[in-house]
Symmetry: none
Subunit: 195 residues, 4 copies
DNA sequence: ATCTAATCGAGACGGTACGTCGCGTCTTGTT
DNA sequence: AACAAGACGCGACGTACCGTCTCGATTAGAT
């Protein structure tokens, strides 16, 4: 009772790729089902069979994308805080130098509440785990007395992540000369770090 | 020979209001010409006669909105920095408590590069003047030796504005308990301000 | 109580001319008020002030046109019938050789019942007077015993006018080699005229 | 690879029927795509998918209409000419008594050169075959010496068809007392037929 | 080797928004 | 009061995308 032709899994990937490209280029509104199917060389039926809505399609595409390129802080915990922060900021800036990733993140950041499902996915699966790992690093540094105990790690990330996203994503235009490490120095100074 | 029936300016306003509501609710994609005209009780022809594109419509609506509710820092320059910052943050948080303004700013912040015209308008007419006024205040405080001379006012705003927008706009959901003044304390500490 | 600027009567004529040209080119549907006013170098207001509907405009234009070019049979009554008929048919064919008149008459013939007002005008002011004059000629020829008394003049005109309009107007295309005088011979034969 | 959901042929018919009704009522200009789709209970997309232009739609509708109601002269050839003509005229008059057919033919006859495609279709598929069959009948009667050999069958039809269409279609109003058979007598007399 | 059932591409279905154009009415300032 | 200019609401135009559906053809596993 479970016969039938199995799904062609290569089609899944091609559809997701096409959807992600369109999303990065023009946001959710640009994810046109006809276009996605056409670019992937598949039919609209095959697309709708997999995902009922634009959101579900982009959500799935994002998860697939995230699964490929993921870097954590797990193995950094033994390093000194200053070094970790430098690497983190450099990684962030480097990631935003890739136009595709840059646009993709901009679109993700730009998601309105009306696009709740995918927005929630982005935060819960991408942002929050990163923030938790980061908080752990900060607390360990506080335990090692590298920085003062007063500064809330969450607040510290709000300042650092906020400044970076503000400059790199929210600002119009593609090119901003950015001395990103000065954010670190300022935040560390706020945290009582003896520069 | 420059006669003709003059445009009904009440229609301008009603169209702009309707457009702004739709924009705040769902972003540029939700600014539907049929809907705008219908809500304003006008005809699509009257709408197209004024603005050829969605962007031009929303741009104009934003300028009209901004013209009404504008608050500057001009008369604050004599106050102590801590007081000014408190007022600034309180105003920002209060502004974001109004659901309409909150959504409106979220949409503005969320504008992608594809919506370049309106994004540029938002930054050049709303954000940048505010940042310049803010920078002046900081520099005056530095001249009065209230805070140290090392922290770049631009960087300070990136941290403060970034953290606020990050928390208040980018985060999903509408409700965030936010001790906004702690951002100020952190930033002032970073600036060598004796708390 | 009858002050005010008098109407510019040259505008009347230019509007009528423009309307008639458009009518001959494409029928009633092509008589576009914007176009008429533009071609006449006048404003739509001046046009609507004179005629409320398309039909009234074309009706008026036709009356003006007819007033200029009108030829009757009044002075023919003394000639022999054969000669009169030849002249009549030659005139008709010649009139249809002018492309403008040809198209104009075709459009008039093509008027549907929905365009009743102008259709009625055409028949009552152009066709019927001509038919009555023609009937008088036939009856005088019958009294002179040139042709037999049996053939109804109305029927004779139905045959002759019908055949001519059928060939010259209803047929598609612009060019028909037409031996129009053979219609006369046939009709006269039917009327007992000794060819 | 020539799949796809087949077109619903009932929709074709309903669209054609709706188009033909509108055409008979008000000519080509009255064939409104919105109206046609609405009356047929279909969508405009389904309509445009089938016919790109008004002309193509009406052309197709006419062919469908003609396919249903077609009567030829094929089996009449053995009868005497007078009888055939009586039947022909009676059929024509009877056909024009149906208001729908009457209006339809009036619109067809009234087609201007600007509506060339459909006008040509009407003449080539409806009028010309009928004229050719009619000519054959006349020639056979001439061979049987029922009427004289001099009268051109084409000319005979111009007289007969012209008179009928002139009276029944071109005249304004719907009601004309018409002794159609008198046309036959006149034409036969012209053809040397001994009444 | 056949049967079976879910897949595939293709494309039609009713909707709805787009941006344009013509309609007939109206409201200005100017002559 | 006429004039030109042009705005007003209305509604049709032809196109494109939406999400659903209905086809014939494919394709593997279960019989």
């Amino acid at each position: 009772m479970n016969g039938g032709r199995p799904r062609d899994e290569t089609i899944d990937q091609e559809l997701q790729t096409a959807a992600l490209i369109l999303f990065a280029e023009g946001g959710l509104a640009a994810v046109n089902f006809d276009q996605v199917a056409k670019r992937a060389g598949a039919s609209r039926a095959a697309l709708y069979r997999r995902w009922a809505t634009r959101e579900a399609l982009v959500t799935s595409a994002l998860q697939g994308y995230r699964a490929k390129a993921e870097s954590g802080f797990e193995d950094w915990t033994s390093r000194p805080l200053g070094e970790i922060l430098d690497i983190f900021v450099d990684q962030t800036v480097a990631a935003f130098s890739d136009p595709f990733a840059r646009n993709l993140l901009r679109q993700l950041f730009a998601l309105s509440d009306q696009e709740a499902e995918i927005k929630h996915l982005y935060w819960s699966t991408i942002v929050e785990p990163r923030r938790k790992a980061f908080s752990l690093i900060i607390r360990q540094a506080q335990e090692r007395r590298e920085i003062g105990p007063d500064l809330d790690p969450e607040l510290m990330q709000d300042l650092l992540g906020g400044a970076l996203s503000y400059r790199l994503l929210a600002y119009p235009g593609d090119e901003h000369v950015l001395d990103a490490r000065s954010y670190i120095r300022a935040v560390l100074h706020a945290a009582g770090f003896p520069i």
